[in-house]
C-alpha cells in the first residue's frame, strides 16, 4: 500500500511536473507571507517582518531542491541533465564521437548481419502450420544420413504410421518448357560473384522457356497449412495418376509475369506438351519446406508426364523419390515416432528382401530451415568467432579512445569533484556518455546491417536465372534482431565505459587541479591499461588477417593446382537436348550429335572435339564397385558389395590426347571398341597400383559393377562387366575433387548412343574463353532450340567445393579483417596522438635539454611499438592454433604457410606504425618554449 502510494506520488510528480513546481512555489511564498503576518501581529513593522521571515526561512531554491528530492524525482532530473550534458560533450568532440560511433557501428552492423543470417537459417521457425511438431523423415544407409525414400516406400509409411498425423512428400524438381508463357528474362549481371572470382557458365536458353517445377504430394499444402493467394492449392485427390493433371503457380511468378491476374485460375497451360489446369496460386515468397520459390508446383502423380520423369520413378522401390514430412501427433515425442518408423522399415525389409535400397529411417525436427549439425558447426563457429573478434576490436578501440579522453578530462573531473559532485553521480554521467555512443552506434549499425543483407540477397537473387525460381531468404526486420543489436550496444557501452570511468574517478583531486597529467609515474600506471587494449586490438586483428590470408592463398592454390589435364584450352559444352521436354526422338538426337561435332570441328581455332559422359571437375561424379575378376561380385540382389568403388566415365578414343592426359602404358580405345562398347577398360595409375602392385596391368581383367546395380540417376544404367580387359594405363588426374588425386578411376568406351545428355569437350588453339561466342552460334546453326551450357574447364574449377569454401571464407574474413585493421589503426593513431598531447610538457623539457627531433620521434614510437609487438606475438600464436583447426576441416589448407604469417604480421606492424607515426610527428614539432609555458 505504502509502496503504491510512493509510486503514485512519484508518477504525479513526474507527469505533472510543471504543476507541482507551481504549487511548490505558491506554498513557500504563502509560508513566508503568513509567517511575516504572524510577526506583524506581534508588533514588528510590516517591511521588517517580511525581511525577518525571509531570513528565518533560508534558501528557497535549496528547499525546493530538497522537496524534489523527497519526491524521488531528482534521479530523473539528473538523468536528463546527464543526457543533455553527454550529448553536448559528444557534439563538442566530433572527431572522437565519429571515430567511436563508426568503430562500434561496424562491429554491431557486422554482428547483426551474421546473426540475421544465422537466425534465418537455424533459429527462425519455418512459416508452416505448427512448426514445433513438424518432422522430416529420411532414409539412412551406409554413408547416407539424409537419403530419399522411394515412392512406394513413402506410401507404405504414410498408410501405416500411427505416431505422425500425416505424411507428405517433396519429390524434387525438374525444368519444364511451356509455349504459353513468355518469361521476361532479365539480363543478370552477378557482379559480386564475378568480383569474388567465380565465373558462371554461359547459358544459351535456346528457343524455349524453362521453368522450375516442384513435385509435392497431394496432401503437402494441407499438411503445411498453406492458404492460396488465388484459386485453391492441391488436395489429395489431385495426386492420382488417372486424374486430369493440375498445377499451382507460385505467387512470385503470378505477380511478376502475370500481373496478379486472377483470371489465370482455371485456364490451361501446356507443360512439356501436356495440358495442365492451373487450379491456384501460392502466396508470394511461399516456400513450404524448400529454400527457394519455384515457378510451378505439380502433384507427384504428374511426375512421369514432365521433364525426365518416368513411370518407373513412381513404382520402383530402388529409385529415390523424395523427402517425407509429417506432424507428430499430440503427446508423441520424436523418439516414439523414430521407434515406430524403424519397425515399419524392418517390415519393408522383410517384405521386399530383393530391394537394394532398403535402409533405416531417421526422424528429425524440421522446425527451422536448417540446423547446425556436426558438419556445419565449424563454419558457423568460425564466422561467429570472426565477427565476435571484430566487435572485440571495436570495443577495445572505443575503450582506448575513452581512456585517452579520460586522461584529458582529469582536470574537469577534478574540478567537479572538488565542487562537491558525488562520485556516484559522476560515474552515472560517464556511463551515460558511453551508453549514448553505443546507442548511436547501434542506431547506425542496424540500417548498415540491413543494407548489407539486402545487397547480398539482391546480388544472390540476380545471379540466379529467373526460371530457377526466386530466393526467399527472409531479411525483413525482426524484433529479436533489433533487440540483439540494442543489447550488444548497451553491453559494450557499459563494458567499455566502466573501465575508463572508474579510472577517471580514481583522480586525486589535488593533483588533477594542478594538472600534473604529465608527471611520469602516473602516466606509466595509466598507460598499462591502454597498452593492454592495443595488444588486444592488434592480436584480434592479426588473427582475422592471418586466417583470411591462409584461406585466400588456399583458394589461390586451388586455382593453380595442376589437375593433370588441360583446363585452359578446353571448353565444356553441355547439351541438354535429350530432355524429354524437347520431344526429340532417339534417332534425331544421334543425328544432331554427329552434326554438332562436325560443325564444331570445322570451326577455325578448334583443334579437336570429343565426347564424354562427364567432363572432369564438373560434378556429376559417379562411382561403381570394382574388383579383379577373381573377386566374386555379390549374387544378384542380395548381400553387400564389399569391393572398393571407383569413379568412372565413358569416353571416346581421342579423350586422352585431347585433354593432355598421358597414356603411361598400353593404348587408348579403338573406334571399333568405342562403338560397340566392348569389354575393355583404361585405368588410372593409382588403380593399377591398387589391384596389381608391381605388375604389368595390361591384359589383366577387371570385374565392374553387378547385375541390376543401383542406378546412379533415374534413367541411367550402371556399368556392368564380369571381365573387362585392361588395355591402357593413364596418368593420375584430379577429375573428381580438386584437392586430391582420384584414388580409383576407370575409363570405359563410349558409344554415341549411350548418354541422354551430351557432354562435348572442345579443344581450342587459343584461350578457350575467347571462342565461346563462336561455339554458341555454331550450336544455334545446327538447332536454334537447343539449350546449351558453355564453360571453359578452368571456369569449372572455380566451382570445386574446396575452392568455393576457401574463397568465400577468405573473402569474408578478409573483409572483416580489413575492417579490424582499420579499427586497430584508428586505435593506435588515437593512442599515440593522445600520449603526445599528454606528454607535450615532458617533450618540451627534453627538447629544451637538447633532445633531437628524431630522438623524440623514436621515443614516442618506441612506446607504441612495444604493445604492438606483444599483440603480434599473441596474434600469431592464436592464429597458429586456429588455422590448425581450420585445416582439419578444410583439406588442402597449409596451416604453417610462412608467407601468410610473416607477410600479414609485417603488413600489420607497418600499417600500425604508420598510424602511430602520423600523430607522432606532432611531437617533433613541439616548441619547447610553448610547451614549458603551457603550465
Amino acid at each position: 500500500m505504502r509502496f503504491l502510494n510512493r509510486v503514485q506520488s512519484w508518477m504525479r510528480a513526474v507527469t505533472r511536473r510543471s504543476r507541482m513546481e507551481r504549487e511548490m512555489d505558491a506554498e513557500l511564498r504563502f509560508h513566508i507571507e503568513a509567517f511575516a503576518e504572524d510577526l506583524a501581529r506581534s508588533g514588528v513593522p510590516r517591511a521588517e517582518a517580511l525581511r525577518r521571515a525571509r531570513i528565518e526561512f533560508g534558501g528557497v531554491e535549496r528547499t525546493k531542491e530538497e522537496c524534489r528530492d523527497a519526491r524521488g524525482i531528482s534521479f530523473i532530473d539528473s538523468l536528463f541533465q546527464d543526457l543533455r550534458f553527454g550529448l553536448r560533450m559528444l557534439r563538442k568532440n566530433p572527431g572522437f564521437t565519429a571515430t567511436a560511433v563508426l568503430a562500434l557501428a561496424l562491429g554491431i552492423g557486422v554482428n547483426t548481419t551474421a546473426f540475421t543470417v544465422f537466425d534465418a537459417v537455424a533459429l527462425r521457425p519455418r512459416a508452416v502450420k505448427d512448426p514445433d511438431r513438424l518432422v522430416g523423415v529420411y532414409r539412412t544407409a551406409k554413408g547416407e544420413d539424409y537419403g530419399a525414400f522411394s515412392y512406394p516406400d513413402y506410401i507404405y509409411y504414410r498408410d501405416h504410421t500411427k505416431t505422425l498425423s500425416d505424411l507428405a512428400m517433396w519429390s524434387g524438381e525438374t525444368n519444364v518448357t511451356t509455349p504459353d508463357l513468355s518469361v521476361a528474362n532479365k539480363e543478370n549481371v552477378p557482379r559480386v560473384a564475378g568480383a569474388l572470382g567465380f565465373q558462371l557458365p554461359q547459358l544459351l536458353q535456346g528457343g524455349v522457356e524453362r521453368l522450375t517445377c516442384v513435385f509435392v504430394s497431394g496432401n503437402y499444402f494441407q499438411l503445411l497449412g498453406a492458404h492460396p493467394a488465388a484459386g485453391r492449392l492441391f488436395l489429395p485427390e489431385d495426386d492420382q495418376s488417372g486424374e486430369p493433371p493440375v498445377v499451382v503457380l507460385s505467387g512470385n511468378f503470378w505477380q511478376s509475369q502475370l500481373h496478379s491476374n486472377p483470371g489465370i485460375v482455371g485456364s490451361v497451360i501446356h507443360l512439356d506438351r501436356m495440358a495442365f489446369t492451373i487450379v491456384g496460386v501460392t502466396p508470394v515468397d511461399y516456400v513450404g519446406t524448400l529454400s527457394r520459390v519455384p515457378v510451378l508446383w505439380a502433384p507427384i502423380a504428374a511426375r512421369p508426364l514432365l521433364g525426365d520423369g518416368t513411370r518407373e520413378s513412381l513404382e520402383n522401390r530402388n529409385v529415390p523419390a523424395g523427402i517425407v514430412y509429417g506432424h507428430l501427433k499430440a503427446g508423441i515425442a520424436l523418439p516414439d515416432a523414430q521407434a515406430e518408423l524403424k519397425v515399419l522399415a524392418e517390415q519393408l525389409r522383410a517384405g521386399y528382401p530383393d530391394v537394394e535400397r532398403n535402409g533405416g529411417v531417421r526422424v528429425i525436427s524440421e522446425r527451422t530451415f536448417g540446423s547446425i549439425d556436426l558438419e556445419a558447426w565449424p563454419v558457423v563457429a568460425a564466422t561467429m568467432g570472426a565477427v565476435a573478434l571484430l566487435l572485440l576490436i571495436a570495443c577495445a578501440n572505443v575503450a582506448s579512445l575513452l581512456l585517452a579522453r579520460a586522461a584529458t578530462r582529469r582536470r574537469e573531473i577534478g574540478v567537479r569533484l572538488s565542487l562537491g559532485a558525488g562520485r556516484r553521480r559522476l560515474l552515472q554521467q560517464l556511463l551515460i556518455e558511453s551508453t549514448l555512443i553505443a546507442l548511436v552506434a547501434g542506431a547506425v549499425g542496424l540500417p548498415l546491417a540491413y543494407g548489407t543483407l539486402h545487397l547480398l540477397v539482391v546480388e544472390i537473387a540476380s545471379a540466379i536465372p529467373s526460371y530457377w525460381g526466386a530466393i526467399a531468404l527472409q531479411v525483413t526486420p525482426d524484433i529479436r534482431i533489433f533487440g540483439y543489436t540494442v543489447l550488444i550496444s548497451l553491453l559494450t557501452g557499459v563494458a567499455f565505459g566502466l573501465t575508463p570511468a572508474l579510472q577517471a574517478l580514481r583522480v586525486d583531486v589535488n593533483s588533477a587541479l594542478k594538472d600534473s597529467g604529465s608527471m611520469l609515474g602516473q602516466r606509466l600506471s595509466k598507460s598499462r591499461l591502454r597498452d593492454l587494449l592495443i595488444v588486444v586490438q592488434v592480436a584480434a586483428c592479426l588473427v582475422l588477417l592471418i586466417n583470411s590470408a591462409l584461406l585466400l592463398r588456399g583458394s589461390q592454390r586451388a586455382l593453380r593446382i595442376d589437375p593433370g589435364f588441360d583446363t585452359k584450352h578446353v571448353v565444356h559444352l553441355s547439351l541438354e537436348m535429350a530432355e524429354p521436354s524437347m520431344g526429340y526422338s532417339q534417332a534425331r538426337l544421334l543425328k544432331l550429335n554427329r552434326q554438332l561435332m562436325d560443325e564444331i570441328s570445322r570451326l577455325p581455332g578448334i583443334t579437336a572435339v570429343t565426347q564424354a559422359s562427364r567432363a572432369p571437375i564438373s560434378g556429376g561424379n559417379r562411382f561403381v564397385p570394382v574388383g579383379t575378376d577373381d573377386a566374386e561380385p555379390p549374387a544378384s540382389g542380395g548381400g553387400k558389395d564389399k569391393r572398393p568403388t571407383a569413379g568412372y566415365s565413358y569416353v571416346l578414343p581421342n579423350y586422352f590426347g585431347m585433354l593432355g592426359i598421358p597414356i603411361v602404358s598400353g593404348r587408348s580405345f579403338t573406334v571399333q571398341e568405342a562403338e560397340t562398347e566392348g569389354p575393355v577398360v583404361i585405368i588410372s595409375e593409382a588403380t593399377a597400383r591398387r589391384f596389381w602392385p608391381g605388375q604389368n596391368p595390361i591384359g589383366k581383367s577387371l570385374a565392374i559393377g553387378s547385375v541390376n546395380g543401383p542406378a546412379p540417376y533415374p534413367g541411367v544404367t550402371a556399368p556392368f562387366s564380369r571381365g573387362s580387359e585392361v588395355v591402357g594405363v593413364v596418368r593420375d588426374v584430379r577429375s573428381l575433387f580438386l584437392n586430391r588425386v582420384d584414388e580409383l578411376y576407370l575409363y570405359l568406351p563410349l558409344s554415341q548412343t549411350r548418354e541422354s545428355t551430351s557432354t562435348l569437350l572442345v579443344h581450342t588453339s587459343g584461350r578457350a574463353s575467347s571462342l565461346l561466342p563462336t561455339l554458341g552460334s555454331a550450336v544455334r546453326r545446327v538447332d536454334p532450340n537447343l539449350p546449351v551450357v558453355l564453360a571453359p574447364l578452368d571456369w569449372m574449377v572455380s566451382f570445386d567445393p574446396y575452392f568455393v569454401i576457401s574463397r568465400i571464407g577468405g573473402i569474408l574474413s578478409s573483409i572483416v579483417g580489413a575492417l579490424g585493421l582499420f579499427l586497430a589503426c584508428l586505435g593506435v593513431y588515437g593512442m599515440v596522438g593522445y600520449s603526445v598531447v599528454e606528454r607535450t610538457h615532458e617533450i618540451g623539457i627534453r627538447m629544451a635539454l637538447g633532445a633531437q627531433r628524431q630522438q623524440v620521434l623514436g621515443l614516442v614510437l618506441r612506446e607504441s611499438a612495444r604493445p604492438m609487438l606483444f599483440g603480434t606475438v599473441i596474434g600469431i600464436a592464436v592464429s597458429a592454433a586456429i588455422s590448425r583447426l581450420i585445416s582439419t576441416i578444410l583439406f588442402g589448407l597449409n596451416p604453417a604457410d610462412a608467407i601468410s604469417f610473416a607477410g600479414v604480421s609485417l603488413l600489420l606492424i607497418a600499417v600500425a606504425m604508420f598510424a602511430g607515426w602520423l600523430p607522432a610527428r606532432r611531437a617533433m614539432r613541439v616548441d619547447p618554449m610553448v610547451a614549458l609555458r603551457y603550465e
Binding site: 502510494n5 513557500l28 528565518e56
Partner: protein, 114 residues
C-alpha cells in the same frame, strides 16, 4: 525570540509534524506555529527543513494535502493525517515514551541501585 531554544533531536521532526496535523488540518506555516505554540517556543525548528519533511511524509502516504482557504481568505495547502499516519504516530509515540523512560531511568540511577 527566546534565545534559550533547544535544538530538535534528530528524527523527531517527523513525529512532531504528525502530532501537529493530527489535531486538525494545517498549512505549512500553521504546522510550524502550532509546534512552537505547544512547545511554548522552547524548540527551534529550521523553517527550510520543514517543507522537505512535509513532502517526504506525503510521499510516504502518512499525510495528504489539499488546497483550501486560509484564515485571511488566501489559498493555502492544508495537510491532514491519513490512517497510516495515525498508526505511525501511535507507534512512534510509544517508542519515544519507552525510550524516554529507559533513558530517564538510567540517568536517575544511583550507585546503590547498580
Amino acid at each position: 525570540m527566546d534565545k534559550k531554544q533547544m535544538e530538535l533531536l534528530q528524527g523527531t521532526l517527523d513525529m512532531l509534524i504528525l502530532k501537529a496535523v493530527s489535531l486538525g488540518p494545517l498549512h505549512g506555516c500553521g504546522v510550524l506555529l502550532r509546534i512552537q505554540q505547544i512547545s511554548k517556543d522552547r524548540l527551534e525548528i529550521q523553517q527550510g527543513s520543514l517543507y522537505p519533511t512535509l513532502y517526504r511524509l506525503e510521499h510516504q502516504g502518512l499525510i495528504t494535502s489539499e488546497w483550501g482557504e486560509s484564515e485571511n481568505k488566501r489559498k493555502a495547502k492544508y495537510y491532514r493525517l491519513t490512517a497510516a499516519g495515525k498508526r505511525k504516530l501511535q507507534t512512534e509515540a510509544e517508542k519515544w515514551n519507552r525510550m524516554a523512560d529507559v533513558i530517564a531511568g538510567i540517568l536517575q540511577s544511583t550507585p546503590e541501585e547498580v
